[in-house]
Symmetry: D2
Subunit: 291 residues, 4 copies
């Protein structure tokens, strides 16, 4: 199938490779063309402009945030280039408000709009094992499902309004932020009593919390290893803010998210915006006078 | 070995059975003698008073809270009955302050004091698969380790001050409370966007949070099944309060614990104190006007 | 002096009247022309479009929020109509981000931009006794100070960047929201102990908190009289959100604002968005099971 | 009248002086006798033990906290020395739980127990202008009212259960803590935008918050003058904790109090426990990276 692909960052790159490897004809675009090089070598075509990447019945996009989506899709014309009857799969973690706006704009043009943000880091993407959080028109989803098979291990469907998948993605990231913030706070507590936080976190990750989220982030906190960042503190703040906004738009109080937002801001105020978001543990330790 | 055992509640009962089954001579005491019946039938001796249960070199106690420990150990004389050189294994989840006080009182009497609160519910206790969170004198711990083998799957050692194990236990329960509170808040968020909370929680428990804590409590929240309670809301409040106090005594700010405390109080104010602590989800839903 | 005036709501109306009464020639515009009637009868001219109101060296605007300012000033051309050398006095409570954007746009056009949000309700505005929170070019402020004399009792100057006045206004409104939220919480506490909240609030407002803010809002809470609204719950949420955003843009954690935001959302979720923002007391009472 | 008086600290001293000056025969006791010297010179008698101070129909006590009250009244026998029919006026800021316990103990002995904590610092006490927050038996209060006239400017009556006055006192102190914490947070916000916090706080205290609480604490924050302490950070933490406990005992969620508690702990963790509680402003500034 002929597929357009916008956005070749850490996540977009391996996803595009998997589509290419499955035999599809890819036309790719990225803000800085250099990132496209490995894909071109593997057989993809380069589009000079976002609109030029629209070549067939399906467009994928994996852009950084609301601003990048707005610029690429709306201002630089990719949306207008989509023919009626085509499908746009937007994998970005964006605000529920923008998702709603995009739904309407696609509908006006007779283009099916699917929001399919993903769970998993770049190595998981490379292995084609992402969890795909999908929402939008079910028939359109069925059409692209064969493509999704080469990207993810499972497609989770949350409803026919695309923003529902974005709400789920933000909720899932909130759960991760909270797990990190809770380990940070609990570690400060045991450390205050002379217990090695690594002992505590090791026990947690081997017993009631034997899940990747606790093991990975718990390990980083135990070793105070916040660099290189898997997911930056500034991105943590962005996603928690989007979750709070998504809540506010439906009148959902979110007191835990509010505390976490506050701590990400504290981290950034202390120059740690580029560290991994598990650096929330530095905030908890500093507030306790432990650092 | 001749062992005394105080407290035959939901957790004490199966632990005592395992010790008995391993061939030890048990003298048991419980506030209401009826609970001792199954153990007596299995060969244990009944003590009329807490002090009468002190028969050999080791005393186990698994009492409900600070008040029960204070009454049984201090006021009703069990501590005074312990001979110098004996070992007391206290498995209760108590305050760090009481743990410190008990350490001093045992030391005065030449009695080794081990705090070994446990992770796991009664079915895990029955299977002898508890995780044992231990602190206190290492030599004393080595002496009782053969007994611990029949109770738990692993002994985790956190330091030579007994209260360190209590701090770890409170920190672990805080993590559980936070996981519940976070699932509650995130579920209210997705529900506000028309997503079935069960779909969201099912996905979480199958992916990044594939751990028992998320699966069990997530399932209860998904089904709004808060009764019978595995662990009551009132107990959740008690443990979060003890965690906050343990933090305060070492100058550790704990903003997430503070939010959770507030929500347990809200649940109790609405008559849900006897429900499982996963009923925090009712609080989140109610505040969002969803219930 | 010939003055343009945009926005004749609850606050704009009495301010415009005071300028007219002081002998100035006013050209006024309002989204719904009906609101302009009393001013026309008093001698003002009606502008058909925002840009038509720009008649002399000074333009005042008192619009509802960011969206109204953006529409009126930017989209409907008022800003473009301002001649170089003129002064625009923006009295709206807007975001710090928009204030910054407007500063740049005015500077490009050689128009002096003053942000002068006000403290005081409509009766205070009618009496010409507003407190004027000003920031922007000091020379421009000196030029309009004679006009400000008929509007307010005092001009407070906070710096030469216009957004500084907006930050101060948001900070002041946060203080009001917090005073309300605190009275709400403290009232729930004493009520929980059988004390009449009116007795408590009456004492507060006659002693350590003998200030208008506590007396007025305390009285409303004591009498549970939240309608008619002096300032609506939805506006309270808006301003606290703007304060949080203003903080985030400078990396300032704001945990109290975050709690208040959460409670405004709770109020709105329960259908109380149109009540006075002192209806936060309903939230506190409800959470305590008192209502 | 012959009056006993226990506790001659910063507050007890001037209150006792006023009673003496009004012509009453005072027998005083203080943990360190040195503090009694000025009163003895003015004609008071010294009691060697708390119980010895009980000489007539009325006993006043103004002790530091729960522990001091418990020791002086219960352990050292002052309560047992009170004859049936006498009146005990307890002016200390204590927990609602202890107040309830003391009510029962006094009732058993036929002694009237009045809780009358006060609002006002030592200079206000010296001027006999305290606000007296009273609860307990109304007839007993009427008996001592002539004595209260020389101590305070007004007696506020909150109910016949003594703990009601303690709940009110804790609620009032919570309002003060919140005013301080809010000024701290709002000051960090405006400072983040380059506004001098002193300008902001000066404006607040001259307008909507023209009340002693905002003027005094606002001035200390503006000048960053946290020493000498009028009321120490450690005492602020104590009173907010007592307020939270008082809330919990009646199922009242108190999210603002919880945030303030957290910040007092942060202050103490950074060595500022002995500073005035307005040093919460240091916490807000530090979290924003401003200090």
């Amino acid at each position: 199938m002929s597929i357009g692909f916008l956005g070749l960052g850490t996540m977009g790159q391996p996803i595009a490779h998997n589509l290419l490897r499955a035999g599809h004809a890819l036309t790719v675009w990225n803000r800085s063309a250099a990132a496209a090089q490995p894909l071109l070598e593997a057989g993809a075509q380069l589009a000079a402009q976002p609109a030029d990447a629209v070549r067939g019945p399906v467009l994928f996009s994996m852009l950084a945030d609301d601003a990048a989506v707005r610029e690429t899709l709306l201002e630089r014309g990719a949306l207008d280039a989509l023919p009626a009857g085509s499908v746009h799969v937007n994998m970005a973690t964006i605000s529920v408000a923008l998702a709603r706006e995009l739904s309407a704009l696609h509908a006006e043009r007779g283009v099916a709009y699917l929001a399919i943000p993903v769970l998993g880091r770049s190595d998981v993407a490379a292995a084609g094992q992402l969890n795909l959080l999908a929402a939008g028109d079910a028939a359109a989803l069925a059409r692209v499902q064969p493509l999704l098979e080469v990207i993810g291990r499972k497609t989770w469907y949350f409803g026919d309004a695309p923003e529902q998948a974005n709400a789920v993605k933000l909720a899932a990231n909130l759960c991760l932020a909270s797990a990190i913030g809770t380990m940070a706070e609990a570690s400060a507590l045991v450390r205050g009593h002379g217990v090695d936080a690594a002992d505590f976190l090791g026990m947690l990750g081997s017993t009631v919390f034997a899940a990747p989220a606790y093991q990975n982030y718990g390990g980083m906190i135990a070793e105070q290893r916040y660099s290189p960042a898997g997911f930056k503190t500034t991105l943590g703040l962005k996603d928690v803010r989007l979750a709070l906004n998504a809540g506010e738009s439906r009148h959902v109080p979110m007191p835990l998210a509010a505390v976490l937002r506050d701590q990400f801001i504290d981290a950034i105020a202390h120059g740690d915006g580029e560290l991994d978001w598990s650096a929330l543990a530095k905030v908890a330790a500093r507030r306790a006078g432990q650092a």
